[in-house]
Amino acid sequence: MTSQLFVNILLSALSLGVIYFLLSSGFALVFSLLRVSNFSHGSLIMWGAYLGVYLVKALSNFTLGLVVSAVVIGIILALVEFFLFRRLYGGNPLFELLLTFGLIYILDEAVKLIWGAAMITVDKPLFLQGTVMIYGEPFAILRLYIFGLGAFICAALYFLLNKTKLGLIITAGIENKEMVRALGININKVFTFVCWLGGFLAGIAGFVLAFFTGLSPEMGTNQLLNVLVIVVVGGLGSFMGAAIAAIIMGLAEAFLGFYLPELAILSSFIVMFIVLGIKPSGLLGEE
C-alpha cells in the first residue's frame, strides 16, 4: 500500500467519522441529560434533510436554509419533550423508548405525505463541487467542508458544555438531577433546551447526509443503528465518548472496506462486540 493511498483512505475514513459524529451527537446529548433513548432521532435526521434541501431552494441561501431547517427540527423535538416526554419522567424508562419508537411512524409517514416516497437526488451547491489536491490525490471539497462543520460543532458544544453557565447546569443535571432541582434551578427548561439542541444537531446532520445518500424516507432510520452502536460504544451518557467512537467507526468501516469488502457492512458490529467485550460500559461510560 502506498502512502498516497493510505492518506486518501485515512481522509475519507475521518470524514466518515465526522459524519457519524454529526449523526450521533444529538442522540448522545439528549440521552446524557434526559436518559431518554430517542429512537426517533433517525427520523429527525431525515426531516432535517428534506426540510433543509427544501428551504435552501426556497430561500436560495445555503447557510440560512441550513440553519432555519435545523432550528425547526430542534423545535419539533422540543415540543415532543414538552408535551410527551414530560408526562413519562420518573416512570418506567421503557415507555419513553416506546413513545419515541411510535414517533418514527408519525414522522416518516408525514414525510411521505408531503414529499412522496420516491428517492430524490440532491445537487451539491456550486461552492462545494470539485476537488482539491491533497498529497497528490484528489479530495472532494464537500468532505473538507464537513470536516470544518464537524470541528466547529464539536468545539461549540465543548465550549457550551464546559465554559458556560448553562453547560454547568447541564453537566450537573447529568450527574444529579434532584440536587440541581433542590438548588432552585428549573431543570425542566434545561431539558427542553437540550432537546431543542439535540434536534438542531439532527437537522444539521441530516442535511449533510443528504449529499451522500440522497433524500428518501428510509435515510434516517437506516442510520439509526449506526447511531445507537456509536453511542453504546462511546458509553451511554458520555458525549466525548460518542465523538471518539464515531471516529473509530469511520476508520473501521473505511479500512475494513478496503481490505475485506465483504465484512465492511459488519464493521460496526465487530467494533461493538470488541469494545463491549472488553469494557461493557463503553469507552468513556461510567460503571
Binding site: S37, G102, L225, V232, F269
Partner: protein, 318 residues
C-alpha cells in the same frame, strides 16, 4: 357465586373459540390464511410478552428466534429430508442455545444497553442470512421455497395453527402463574429488592429469555410450515417491530392482550393498507396514545370495564 363469576369470565372466550373452530367452514381461502397468520403471530407476541410484559426487558432483536426457528425447520426439511415434527426438537435446542448465548452476552448490561445490543444483534443475524457467503445455504434475499406440505388440506393446517396457539397460550398461562412467573414479575417491579431477598436476577432473566426464545422459535417454524417458504425478512427488524406493536397495542403483562394485538395489526396490515396510504401514521398516533394513556394496552379498557361490572353486581348484594 364464584362459579357464576367464572362462567361470566370464560363465556366470551368460549364463544370466540367456537367461532374460530367453525370459521373454516364458511370462509374464503384468503381469510383462512390471514387467520393462520394471526395465530402464528399471536404465539410470537405471547413469547415477546413474557419477556417485555412479565420480565420487563425490552429486546429489539426478538425476530432472531423467529427467524432461527423458521430457517432451522426449512433447512432440515429441504436439505436433510426431515419431517416437520422431527425438526421441532432441533428448533427448541437451537433457540435455547441462542437464547443462552444472547443472554450471557447482553443481560449483564442495563436495560437500555440490552435493547440496543439486541437491535444490533438482530441486524447482524439478518446480514448473516443475506450475506454472499451463506447464499448457497440460505438462498440470500430470495429465501427458501417449496417446503413439503405437512398436512393434506388448508383446513387441517388451520386447525393445527389454532391448536398451536391454544397450547402455547395455556402453557404460557401456566408459566406466568407458577412461582417462576411471579418471581419474574417481582424482578420487573423492583430488581433491587428481589436481589436483596436472594433471587439470582440474572439467572431468572436468562430463563425468561430462553423460554420466550423457544416459543418464538416454534412460532417461526410453524410459520415456515404454513407458508411453505422462508424469507430473510423473518429475521429482520420489520418482524421485531411488528411484534412490539402487537404486544404494546394489545396490552403487555396480559397473555390475551398480545393475541388481540396480533389480530389487530395483521388485519390492519392486510385490509387497511389497501385503502389508506398513510395508515401507518394513524398506527403511530394510536401507538403513542396507547403508550401515554393506556400503558397496559387496549385490553385494559375491557378489563377495567368488566371488573367494575362484576364488582357492582356482587359487592352490593353481599
Amino acid at each position: 357465586m364464584f362459579q357464576s363469576i367464572y362462567l361470566r369470565k370464560y363465556c366470551p372466550v368460549c364463544i370466540l373459540i367456537i367461532i374460530l373452530i367453525l370459521l373454516p367452514l364458511f370462509s374464503s381461502e384468503y381469510v383462512k390464511v390471514v387467520a393462520m397468520q394471526i395465530f402464528i403471530f399471536g404465539v410470537f407476541a405471547i413469547s415477546y410478552d413474557i419477556l417485555l410484559g412479565y420480565t420487563g426487558i425490552a429486546s429489539f432483536g426478538h425476530a432472531i428466534f423467529f427467524g432461527t426457528g423458521a430457517y432451522v425447520t426449512a433447512l432440515l426439511m429441504l436439505k436433510s429430508g426431515f419431517s416437520f415434527w422431527a425438526t421441532l426438537p432441533f428448533v427448541v435446542i437451537g433457540c435455547a442455545v441462542i437464547g443462552l448465548l444472547i443472554g450471557l452476552l447482553t443481560l449483564r448490561f442495563a436495560t437500555i444497553y440490552f435493547t440496543i445490543v439486541t437491535l444490533a444483534l438482530g441486524q447482524f443475524c439478518y446480514f448473516l442470512l443475506t450475506n454472499a457467503l451463506t447464499y448457497q445455504y440460505t438462498g440470500g434475499d430470495d429465501g427458501l421455497h417449496g417446503l413439503p406440505m405437512i398436512l393434506q388440506t388448508k383446513n387441517q393446517m388451520y386447525y393445527l395453527a389454532f391448536a398451536f396457539l391454544l397450547v402455547i397460550f395455556f402453557l404460557a398461562k401456566k408459566i406466568v402463574s407458577s412461582p417462576l412467573g411471579t418471581t419474574l414479575v417481582a424482578i420487573r417491579e423492583n430488581e433491587f429488592r428481589a436481589k436483596m431477598i436472594g433471587y439470582n436476577v440474572l439467572n431468572y432473566r436468562l430463563i425468561a429469555l430462553v423460554i420466550s426464545g423457544i416459543m418464538a422459535g416454534l412460532a417461526g417454524s410453524m410459520n415456515a410450515a404454513i407458508l411453505r417458504s422462508v424469507f430473510p425478512g423473518f429475521m429482520g427488524a420489520g418482524t421485531t417491530i411488528d411484534v412490539i406493536l402487537m404486544t404494546i397495542l394489545g396490552g403487555m403483562g396480559s397473555l390475551l392482550g398480545p393475541v388481540i394485538g396480533a389480530a389487530l395489526v395483521i388485519i390492519c396490515q392486510q385490509y387497511l393498507s389497501s385503502y389508506f396510504e398513510w395508515w401507518l401514521m394513524i398506527f403511530g398516533i394510536i401507538f403513542v396514545l396507547v403508550v401515554l394513556f393506556l400503558p397496559q394496552g387496549l385490553i385494559s379498557i375491557f378489563y377495567r370495564f368488566r371488573v367494575k361490572k362484576i364488582l357492582s353486581r356482587y359487592e352490593i348484594k353481599d
